[in-house]
């Protein structure tokens, strides 16, 4: 600590200047008088000679003030340097304290920094598209449900042509193409995009160019743009790829460009090809599968564009009532569309890890309190030497910040590990996982949190430690003890909130797993074949699937097999949702017909999926071409449209003009949750493939393996290639697909559980520390009591009981906090209320038990006190 002379105030500076100038003027005046001038004349002359007095005063004062500022700053920096050096020395002498504090803070800082990186990557990081805030996605609502659907081609064309506020507008159609001639034949995910798609996205290619207008004319040149991944994987990153021809679907396509690695719209596709739209497409209004994007016209606000789209949409509803009745159109800005769904969960997790940081700070503050008590003597000496309270507090805070900096550095290392773990285990539904990295934002955040934590933990102990350095030491210990009690109780409360949240989610998860899916995904594989072009003849196609069914049934390793136009869990199939009519019932107004999921199946399908029959019969071999047309409905459909009445024997038919065949309902099967545990069962009906007039050519094979899904998968591949050599298709395991639907929940639960357990551990450490300190501080008192006859066991019980009571108080507060905040989880809970008494009660009991164990261990030390030594000890 340096001795410093007090600085000069502005008033003092000005006074001294006055004195200096006065001296000069008087000296000059005296000189002139000595030369013979009259005193008044001399004074005037001296003044005139001097020059601009007030200007001189101003300028000199400015220089002096600046000098003061410089001096203060140098002194401050010098003090800081001294403090830091002193702190480093002191901390090295107390490695246990330093390590404990730094590691505790590292946990909190590392966790929060990692999660902030995730939040930044997914929600805040700028998208790789130019001015992404002005890109909007266009949606139409499903007339039956409230959900958002992708617009149909016809609606897209009209929207595009009529909208002034969104220009340009483009669409992307999902597809697939087979690449041959570059290694094994492989199917690549393809996006067929309309004109201006790349202009809307505003993404410049890495190599070459994107499409030119001439390439969108029907019959135009066959061109393709590759994704970075596809370019590297299938063409070895060949720098001369632009201009080369590759064979897609047996047609040579010229590669005109390669996109940058971060271009992933609409999804991580591999190829982009032009889609020329014709007037025929304008007539297709029922199929909703176009991803439509557009850019807001310059100067247009989102609200204005929304209004215009809604108005254009209203016109479309009027013009095409059959298809568009009840449909509304809306816009979602691209950033929100991409990340919006993850926002809630991510922010929740960030809040949870924030709790962990608070608990960690609580422990560090307790450590600091103990250290201040230790430092009393040193601080007293400094105060006696003239250090002001502010100066001492500054020194203590510097020490705290040095520890915090160490914790922060360790925390950043921890954050790097955690971010790696998040990237590895993140569910596929978490958008922009590749954007979750450690970057400048992580460091800025970590530095800010370190400062905040350091100041937060350190301020109170520093103030308390310097409050009254002459006061009685024991009195101060008692006050500190109470503060420490409050800290520990607070930590327990926070940890409890985390534990209850984790508990509620865990119960939800368990509840979900018990939900009956309606089918059995175990040991089953799915393989989707598109054979429209390979088997163009309708009769041959029907025969193909019949033979495939037979072939698979005879394969060892496969217990049952079938095929369907779309399977639950699989995204590869063609989900169809057409309107239908019930014969004999009152016909609804055109455009308001009910819709149900319509699946074309082979007879083996039901057994292969493990789909149970409820009434009547399943479809079988007798339902062939020429036989009466039949269908099988599920319970949901039967309940909804024939509630109570007899459904077997009723007839339904499609409401579209083309397909007016009527089916007789011959059976009712169980409901299926198509998208996993959290989805609801929809109305569905199944018709035989053999009776389909066009022998539907996109069918998903499902096979139940006798032993395992892998074996079944190989068997399916072999069987298909026997009948159709070289056909490309992907094999999916239904078990894995099901696990994928649960992955987001599992991920969130895993993270929350990790945070909750960390928080609990930290709180238990806090309790342990508190009891240890209490025992140490009250040694003398306990020695006296033991000497007077108290048994060690009694003392241990007392100490433990006190700590447990404290924990109980924290638990009660925690329960109330949890009750107030668990509402935030409501959207994520399934089958469990946010105030579930079982979870609350169980967590409270467990926490109490843990606290008891944590306090008992150090309390036992009280039993080993030697009364004589204790009474002689200090304090």
């Amino acid at each position: 600590m340096s001795f410093e002379l007090p600085g000069r105030t502005p008033a003092r500076i000005r006074a001294e200047l006055d004195e200096e100038f006065t001296f000069h003027l008087e000296a000059r005046t005296a000189q002139l008088v000595a030369e013979g001038l009259e005193p008044d004349a001399a004074r005037r002359a001296a003044l005139a000679e001097f020059g601009d007095l007030s200007l001189a005063q101003q300028r000199c004062a400015r220089e002096d003030l600046a000098r003061e500022r410089d001096r203060r700053r140098t002194a401050w920096l010098g003090d800081l340097r001294l403090d830091v050096v002193h702190a480093l020395r002191a901390l090295r002498r107390r490695p246990a304290f330093t390590a404990a504090a730094a590691l505790t803070l590292a946990l909190g800082i590392g966790g929060t920094s990692a999660l902030f990186s995730a939040v930044y990557g997914v929600l805040l990081r700028p998208l790789p598209y130019a001015d992404a805030g002005r890109i909007v996605t266009v949606w139409q609502t499903n007339p039956t449900g409230g959900q958002f659907d992708r617009p149909s081609p016809g609606n897209f064309l009209d929207l595009r042509d009529r909208s002034r506020t969104i220009a340009p507008m483009a669409a992307a159609e999902p597809s697939g193409m087979d690449l041959t001639g570059a290694g094994d034949p492989v199917g690549l995910d393809t996006w067929r995009v309309t004109e201006h798609f790349f202009d809307v996205m505003g993404a410049a290619p890495a190599l070459g160019r994107t499409f030119r207008p001439g390439e969108f004319a029907p019959g135009g040149p066959a061109v393709v743009v590759l994704s970075d991944a596809a370019w590297r994987r299938h063409f070895g990153g060949d720098p001369s790829i632009v201009g080369r021809r590759i064979t897609l679907d047996a047609i040579p396509h010229e590669v005109v460009g390669v996109l940058r690695p971060d271009f992933r719209y609409p999804t991580q596709g591999q190829l982009w090809v032009p889609r020329a739209l014709t007037e025929a497409d304008r007539a297709r209004r029922a199929q909703t599968y176009y991803t439509v994007v557009g850019r807001l016209a310059p100067g247009t606000a989102l609200a204005a564009a929304r209004g215009e789209i809604a108005a254009v949409g209203a016109n479309l509803v009027r013009e095409y009532p059959r298809i568009n009745t009840g449909v509304r159109f809306d816009l979602i800005p691209l950033p929100e569309r991409l990340s919006g769904r993850a926002r809630g969960s991510l922010l929740l997790l960030l809040g949870a890890v924030g709790f962990v940081l608070l608990i960690a700070c609580g422990n560090v503050a307790a450590l600091l309190f103990a250290r201040r008590a230790e430092q009393q003597r040193e601080l007293a000496v400094r105060a006696a030497l003239g250090a002001g309270r502010a100066r001492l507090v500054r020194q203590l805070l510097t020490e705290t910040l040095v520890v915090a900096a160490a914790g922060g550095a360790l925390g950043l290392g921890l954050a790097t590990l955690l971010v790696g773990a998040i990237r590895r285990w993140a569910p596929a539904t978490l958008p922009r996982v590749d954007d979750i990295t450690i970057g400048w934002w992580t460091i800025v955040f970590a530095v800010a949190i370190t400062l905040a934590a350091g100041l937060g933990c350190g301020m109170w102990p520093a103030l308390a430690g310097t409050r009254s350095l002459a006061a009685d030491v024991r009195g101060r210990a008692a006050r500190t003890g109470r503060t420490r009690d409050v800290l520990v109780a607070g930590e327990v409360a926070l940890a409890l909130v985390l534990l209850i949240a984790a508990g509620l989610l865990l119960r939800s998860f368990a509840h979900l797993l018990q939900v009956d899916l309606g089918f059995d995904p175990g040991r089953r594989v799915a393989a989707t074949l598109h054979v429209w072009d390979r088997v163009p003849d309708v009769g041959a196609r029907a025969e193909f699937f019949r033979r495939l069914d037979e072939r698979l049934a005879q394969t060892p390793g496969i217990r049952a097999a079938g095929a369907a136009s779309s399977l639950p869990l699989s995204a590869e199939g063609s989900e169809m949702d057409p309107p239908f009519l019930i014969e004999g019932a009152a016909a609804p107004a055109p455009g308001t017909e009910p819709t149900a999921l319509y699946t074309i199946v082979t007879p083996g399908f039901f057994r292969a999926m493990g789909l149970g029959l409820r009434r009547g019969r399943l479809l079988d071999a007798r339902d062939a071409m020429g036989a009466p047309r039949v269908a099988v409905v599920n319970e949901a459909m039967a309940r909804r449209y024939w509630d109570g009445a007899e459904v077997l024997g009723a007839r339904i038919r499609g409401a579209g003009v083309r397909d007016s065949t009527s089916y007789e309902i011959v059976g009712v099967v169980a409901d299926v949750r198509r998208s996993g545990h959290e989805s609801a069962a929809m109305a569905e009906y199944y018709v035989p493939h053999a009776q389909h007039p066009r022998a539907f050519g996109s069918m998903s094979i499902v096979a139940e393996g006798a032993v395992s899904a892998t074996v079944a998968g190989h068997a399916v591949q072999t069987a298909v290639w026997e009948l159709l050599p070289g056909q490309t298709f992907a094999v999916e395991e239904l078990d894995r697909l099901l696990a994928d639907t649960l992955a987001p929940r599992r991920f969130g639960l895993g993270m929350l559980a990790a945070f909750a357990l960390t928080g609990l551990l930290l709180a238990l450490v806090g309790i342990y520390g508190l009891v240890s300190v209490t025992v140490a501080q009250r040694m003398r008192e306990m020695g006296v009591r033991m000497a007077l006859g108290a048994t060690p066991a009694r003392l241990v019980r007392e100490v433990t009981a006190r700590a447990v009571r404290l924990a109980a108080a924290g638990i009660v507060v925690g329960l109330l906090l949890a009750l107030a905040t668990s509402r935030a989880l409501r959207a994520l809970l399934v089958g469990v209320s946010p105030a579930d008494p079982l979870t609350f009660g169980l967590v409270a009991v467990l926490a109490l038990a843990a606290a008891a164990v944590a306090s008992w261990s150090p309390a036992r030390r009280a039993a080993r006190i030697d009364p004589v030594r204790a009474m002689r000890a200090d304090g």
Partner: protein
Amino acid sequence: MAALELLQGTVDTLILKSLSWGPRHGFAVSRWIGDRSAGALGLEDAGLYQALHRLERRGAVTSSWGLSENNRRARYYRLTPAGRRQLQAETVTWRRYAEAVFLVLDARTAGS
């Protein structure tokens, strides 16, 4: 002859020189410069004091209050080591500059 006006940098050098024999107050510095230059250099006192305070801020001189010859409180300025070094360097530069100018101005013919 009218007093020559001084360039700013020169004032600093002159002040430093005047302090090189020991501490002086501002009035003494002003008188010494005037006497030494036989009145040719007209240095306004206002400018002189500004220069003194500026020099103090830059660390070339320091000041302290003391008693003058007739027991009045006056602010005395004193050279610091840094100021002494600055004086040496500036003196050398000034001499060289002046010699070079003289060489040119003393030329008798266009060629020599």
